[in-house]
Each structure stands twice: as structure tokens, then as C-alpha cells.
Symmetry: C2
DNA sequence: ATTTGACTTCGAGTGCACTCAAAGGGTGAA
DNA sequence: TTCACCCTTTGAGTGCACTCGAAGTCAAAT
């Protein structure tokens, strides 16, 4: 699969895919005879997971650490699990914060509506 | 109230308070005889509201627009209301997205746990 | 009187996460 | 074969939201 197809399917730009590879987030994407990137289905699954981490607010640096651990093999599972659990807590906290703050917005909106 | 006290109470840094004033987010903070900023209680309430907008992800540019409308007077209420309602929808959507994504994290965590 | 330290303005610097440009190579259609 | 258009790498540029530095002012303490 070409970089354009991978971009289409992952929702990331070709620029971003190259950038992710450069910083070590994606490792060893295959190359075809012309030296062009040739993405496999597994790369797409990994990209989808990376995207979940990003959209939930994990910093790139942490994602790099996670990717590095993954490359190091099975024995790093506990550390990866710990990272995910910590991240999960942060996402949960973020949801709680947004849920609290949206109430303030609702109140303010009610004030504006009451004024009309 | 000095800038340091306002910083303490608002949770923003003095640097950020000056920055907010410079870009028009806060208007006409009083000055004392020495020309130092002298924050009023009302400034604090406005800062708290601004902070809610920021932590819920409203871009600074939009906040500036809101602040500008507010300065323009009562007749801009409908537009301000519209901005808040749009923002509210975005926050709601963000909560929904995070709630969906956290399930993926939970699944992944379960996989890791099942492996141990 | 001098030192300390907080304040002022304004412009410049920082960190993050991309995003693009330049220079060059490969491939397929007209 | 020439054109268009994709790809490659590397380094530089962008946008956002701060964050800091420099130069100078001012007031209270020693």
C-alpha cells in the first residue's frame, strides 16, 4: 500500500506518516523496488492505535517511548501496561473535567437565554 | 489586588495575565498610582470564565472575539450566545469522542492483563 | 542613600506537533 | 522522449499559546 493509500486509510497526512516514521513511532515500514514506502495491514492497525493515543492527548514523546518498548519485545509488557493504565486515568480525569466545565457553559447559556 | 495575587487566585501566571491583557482578552484592568495593575473582583470572575473556555479547548482567537463582543455591549448577546452554544456542542462532541476512545484503551489494557 | 525586589512595556524565545520546501529519482502515458 | 506526477531525504518553516529577557520605574527597608 502506498503512502497515499495509508494516509487515506489512517486519516493522517503523508507528511505526518513520514514524520512519525522519522521520530521512531513507526518502525521499518517496507520499501518496494523503487524505495517507496509500502505499508502493510499491520502498519495500519498500529497507526490506528497510535491515533487513538494521540486523539486522547498522549504526548508524542510518550508514544515514542511506548513504541520503543514494543520494539524491545514481550518482556516490556508490564511497563507498557502501566503506561496505558496511567494514560487511561488521565483520559478519565479529562472527561470528568470537561463534564464539569460543560455545566458552567450550560449555566451561562441559560443566563443568556433568560435575558432574551 | 496585585498581579501576583490575581495570578494566585486565577491559577494563571503573571506572564499569562499580562499576555491576556495585551491581546485584548482582558480589558482595562485598573492601575494604581505607581502604574501597577490593580485587579478587581470582577476581573477575577471574568478570568475564571475565560479559563473555563480555555480548558474546554476554545482557541484564544475565539476567546478574543467573545471578549470583543462583550465590550461592544448588550446588543451582541445573541452572537455571544451562538458562540457559547457552538462551543458547547464541540465540548459535548469531545466528551463523546474521549468516552469512545477510552473503551479502546480498556480493551487494550484487558489484552495486556490477560497476557500476564 | 542605597539596595532589594516587584512592577512596567515590548520584543523575542520556547515547545509542541506538525507541515512544507528543495533537490533529486522513478514510472507511466502521450 | 518528454511530460506529469509520484516518491525519497533532510532541514527549515508554521501556528498556537504561552514564556521569558531586557531595560527601565518605583517604593519600602536598611
Amino acid at each position: 500500500m502506498t503512502i497515499q493509500e495509508a494516509a487515506q486509510r489512517s486519516g493522517l497526512s503523508a507528511h505526518t506518516l513520514r514524520y512519525y516514521e522519522r521520530i521512531g513511532l513507526i518502525h521499518s515500514v517496507g520499501r518496494n523496488l523503487s524505495g517507496h514506502r509500502d505499508y502493510a495491514e499491520e502498519d495500519l492497525r498500529w497507526l490506528d492505535f497510535l491515533t487513538k493515543l494521540r486523539t486522547t492527548g498522549m504526548p508524542i514523546a510518550d508514544m515514542c517511548r511506548y513504541a520503543e518498548l514494543r520494539r524491545m519485545g514481550e518482556h516490556t509488557s508490564p511497563e507498557r501496561l502501566a503506561m496505558l493504565e496511567l494514560h487511561r486515568e488521565r483520559v478519565q480525569a479529562r472527561i470528568a473535567e470537561l463534564s464539569k466545565d460543560i455545566k458552567v457553559l450550560d449555566l451561562k447559556i441559560d443566563v443568556y437565554k433568560g435575558r432574551v
